[in-house]
Symmetry: C2
DNA sequence: ACTATCTGAATGAACGTACATTCATATTTT
DNA sequence: AAAATATGAATGTACGTTCATTCAGATAGT
């Protein structure tokens, strides 16, 4: 690794600028300034503005998926796996706010144009969840009528919306561990009081 | 109402174009063409491009909130209210795909710049959910440890992610009623098989 | 009933600017 | 001193917005 890795400096700067202004409202000159680099230098490392965005996704999302997979693999009980997934997801957002915001907003925005890409990586992330469900169903822990394809989206969506709330609001109202526990409990136990559960 | 309401024609055209290309990649000339109107005509009805987007939100979101509130009010049982909310939300998305896509992607994108706006209207929508929870808690149907502020986001997020899936994919894999039932059941009953419920 | 005058909605070519990208030149590294 | 890396002013263009002009239809005058 070079003493000053320009590639990395530019990526880090771009994450900050994109998070603050959004991709289309960010200027190359701003990113250059934030990275302490000349405008032209950016084009020595990236083909164009859009390429910077793509690279952010490619380099960062892979790391996240690998990390979550690895952590989940350490646990046996599918119930605990779910709770752990929730915690890890929210922690990642908390620890990488700018990145989280860029992924949330811009990956969505661009999804039409990079559908294949989103589909591949994002599906991989979601499938960590559906795998947990199938494992739980095989072990007789989760109900058979739970559709893993719907569950994975619902569970991810719940976490994602919670993250968005954090990313957009300045102060957090709830702690990560509280939110992770609440959300996984919603999905595991439901919200009905025990006596009322019919099934 | 005039024979040809240009304001409306332009809004409808813009929803189609924004949904297809995204706000920043949409050209005024495209919207004009789609609306069968000259470029300049658009500026007789709107101050600028951004104003078109704002107007879409202002005119359409209000209608949606009003409709959902009204439908929910007809029901007593908080359990049924939740399921109905899920169904209505997903139905709205299904019946107004382009609008749903614009709201999902662009409202999020712009949220930093129209925070006050999103906060107001969107919070109103989310609060329909937390009201249902509080009502259920008062009636002794929902557990007291459910935090309405977290629940509303989790529930909305689950529906929203399911919608995004529909908006972005060409063919629907699940029926609206199936998804609505699954998701509300997740939240009401959880996914554990009955024997395993500890609490 | 016919003509003249007025009106303002609609048009689309022209304008001006903002900004991504390039490249001739400078600096640093080997 | 050659090669590699970095610079930032200059370039070219895409596109939001403007505005002089048109013209269908309304109103008034004869």
């Amino acid at each position: 690794m070079k003493v000053t890795d320009k590639h990395d400096k530019i990526i880090k700067a771009a994450i900050r600028v994109f998070a603050k202004k959004g991709f289309f409202n960010s200027r190359i000159s701003e990113i250059a300034k934030e990275a302490n680099v000349a405008d032209g230098t950016i084009y020595l490392y990236f083909n164009n503005k859009y390429d910077i965005l793509i690279t952010i996704f490619e380099e960062e999302i892979g790391k996240i998926i690998a990390k979550v997979k690895q952590e989940i693999a350490k646990i046996d009980d599918p119930r605990k796996k779910l709770e752990r997934f929730a915690y890890l997801h929210l922690r990642l957002v908390e620890d990488n706010r700018d990145l989280a915001e860029v992924i949330q907003v811009e990956l969505r925005q661009s999804s039409k144009f990079m559908k294949e890409y989103r589909n591949k990586k994002f599906a991989e992330y979601l499938n960590i969840i559906s795998q947990i469900i199938r494992q739980g169903q095989n072990q007789g822990i989760f109900r058979q009528d739970v559709m893993p394809g719907i569950f994975k989206r619902a569970f991810f969506g719940a976490l994602d919306e919670m993250s968005r709330f954090w990313v957009l609001s300045t102060r957090k109202k709830y702690r990560v561990s509280t939110a992770a526990k609440q959300i996984s409990k919603f999905f595991l136990d439901g919200i009905l009081i025990p006596e009322l559960k019919a099934n």
